[in-house]
Assembly symmetry: C2
Homo-oligomer: 143 residues x 2
DNA sequence: ATAGTATTGTTTGTACACATACATTGAATG
DNA sequence: CATTCAATGTATGTGTACAAACAATACTAT
């Protein structure tokens, strides 16, 4: 028995469900972070810089899973708002070292609680077991 | 004991993991659908039209979970390639009825198998139970 | 050392995603 | 009937996401 087109239900495909889930999570983030005007990606960069400050732009990109081209734009917007600095590595002229400014660090402190709210609201329909199950499975399919 | 910034690990947040997973799924889609030059969203529209042809653009948007503004662009690109038609509803001058063309239908037939491959490869690290678990959980957090 | 290669970052172009503002039409209410 | 309101689609602007082409610097092997 061969598979045919009737087997294919869009709403049952992971990719489709991932897009939907991601869009909903982004919406919750947007509403929760409204006052800060930070995007999820901008916050991800700041939060990662708080974990490991003074990183190469390239390495930072790998840590937050963003393209060099994409990260470049994100960094620029964060620089314009004074949250981040970009300095040349004295040892390697080609490298740029990204670091949090005082302003960025201050802003960030008020954001961690918001970040927790976003995660909590995104997962609110799941019980405790399902919450950690979902995280585990997402990690598994992201390599 | 109050929570502080050290509690917040970016890599443990759903939103971050959802973005990563979605990006990986998109990459797999891109590679698999290389020859067709269809994007995930364009294929989603075609696949949905195969399920329910002759829909209002607005309703189609709700079915594939896209903004009116976003869908408008997707539809335009599908029209340019002759996969889709957009006709005015005679009863409601304001509405546009979207339908698959012969060309679109033909193209689509060869795509279902590719779509299955994408889903399969995206989930390849999971066992059977985990696969359906993930789908269930994603549905739960997408309302 | 020199040549070739890998690393790192920018630029440009296409495609979502969505907010906001706008235009038009159909329906509902007084 | 007229005014208001909801539904539907368009236009524009900002922000990802990524490919491809480019540029410049470090590294490696001969």
């Amino acid at each position: 028995m061969n598979s045919n087109s009737t087997d294919y239900v869009l709403a049952d495909q992971v990719g489709f469900l991932l897009r939907r889930a991601h869009q909903r999570a982004s919406l919750i983030f947007k509403n929760t972070f409204e006052d800060t005007s930070l995007t999820p990606q901008q916050f991800a960069v700041l939060a990662k810089l708080h974990e490991v400050n003074n990183v190469t732009q390239n390495k930072l990109g790998r840590l937050v899973d963003m393209d060099p081209a994409t990260l470049q734009g994100v960094i620029q917007r964060l620089m314009q708002r004074g949250f981040v600095l970009r300095n040349q590595d004295p040892q390697h002229k080609r490298r740029l070292i990204i670091s949090l400014t005082e302003t960025g660090c201050e802003m960030l402190k008020n954001c961690f609680e918001l970040g927790r709210q976003v995660s909590s609201e995104t997962l609110q329909t799941l019980d405790k077991t399902d919450k950690s199950e979902l995280l585990r499975l997402l990690r598994l399919i992201s390599e």
